[in-house]
């Protein structure tokens, strides 16, 4: 039986982003928002870039994780692979074995894409943006590790998404994402005061 304290603890919220929505800091960025601001012409580009611009202009504390960087680079490698072969990304099979077969060609022609995430973060940080990499401490890392299986079970997230939510929940007050897999948070919100803000077309 749940204790009264457990029942009274706040639950995460899941809201759609709209113009003018107040975003509490610190803000944890999902990879799709970061990459979505570096790649033009897709339906969410303007929203991703403007959201990022607002965070930078308002000197909001932004948080990234190694998982975010990993997902971003995988996505850019796939985009490069599709560009090389004129494939449609949504209809293209992509996995580590395909990457290994085409790695040299991808890096030969599109290394600037692969390095763009690191260069962007470096440029913005050097210019004064407040961007941190989390988890910050060993204790927070342990807390994140403990939450991953909980979110995989209760919120039905993939391991990667559970890592994102655990890191965001432990370090940030807002989590910006374009991933529909986090919609489950709306139906079944775990404990915490994090607000998951979904960017939609």
């Amino acid at each position: 039986m749940a204790s009264l304290w457990t029942l009274l603890r706040p639950r995460m919220q899941h809201v759609d982003w709209v113009q003018g929505l107040a975003i509490a800091e610190p803000v944890y960025l999902d990879a799709n928002i970061l990459v979505g601001s570096l790649i033009s012409n897709h339906p969410l580009y303007s929203k991703c870039a403007n959201l990022l611009g607002r965070l930078l202009a308002d000197k909001v504390e932004i948080m990234l994780s190694v998982v975010c960087v990993d997902e971003s680079i995988w996505a850019l490698a796939k985009l490069a692979y599709c560009e090389m072969h004129n494939y449609i990304p949504s209809k293209t099979l992509w996995n580590p074995s395909i990457y290994r077969r085409h790695r040299d060609a991808i890096l030969q022609s599109y290394e600037s894409w692969i390095s763009s995430v690191g260069k962007a973060v470096e440029d913005w940080t050097t210019a004064g943006a407040k961007i941190d990499v989390v988890p910050e401490t060993r204790q927070l890392f342990q807390d994140v590790l403990a939450l991953i299986p909980v979110y995989m079970k209760e919120v039905k997230l993939t391991p990667g998404d559970a890592v994102h939510l655990a890191i965001a929940g432990k370090h940030a007050r807002s989590f910006l994402t374009a991933d529909s897999d986090f919609d489950e948070v709306r139906q079944n919100p775990p404990q915490g005061d994090l607000v998951v803000i979904k960017v939609t077309a």
């Binding site: 012409n41 897709h42 202009a57 308002d58 992509w94 962007a120 004064g128 374009a178």
Partner: protein, 134 residues
């Protein structure tokens, strides 16, 4: 022949050669100057008078229009884009707000990176950005 003076005497008619077309082109970027066309015209006329008929050159104006560069739009110091790329990257971005609310260094870093990779309208970043499964 003295140095600095261009001369063209009658060239001997080569056996088996009916037409010779000579054209000089700059091997560096076209600057729009007509120097090479003047040299070319001088030699063409000379060859024509020497018995080697030359084709009629296309009008100079048309040739310059082909190499004319589209105008560049300066977004920030050191960042200049053609109009189409500018529209793709900044068409929906409130640059005026960011220019007013960011330091010049941050604004430059921001506009330098956003939209720097050309995507496509059918790209769903919400689904696309993920760690691939084996």
């Amino acid at each position: 022949m003295s140095i600095g003076t261009m001369t063209a005497g009658r060239l001997p008619k080569l056996r088996g050669v009916e037409d010779v077309h000579v054209e000089f082109r700059s091997d560096v970027e076209e600057t729009g100057a007509s120097l090479w066309d003047q040299v070319n015209e001088l030699l063409r006329t000379s060859l024509h008078r020497s018995g080697f008929p030359q084709p009629t050159p296309e009008p100079l104006q048309e040739r310059y229009e082909e190499v004319e560069r589209p105008s560049l739009i300066i977004v920030a110091p050191g960042i200049a884009l053609q109009a189409t790329e500018y529209e793709d990257r900044y068409g929906g971005i409130d640059l005026t707000y960011y220019r007013e609310h960011m330091s010049p260094e941050l604004f430059r870093a921001f506009v330098r990176r956003i939209g720097s990779i050309k995507g496509r309208p059918d790209l769903d970043v919400g689904e696309f950005v993920d760690t691939p499964q084996t």
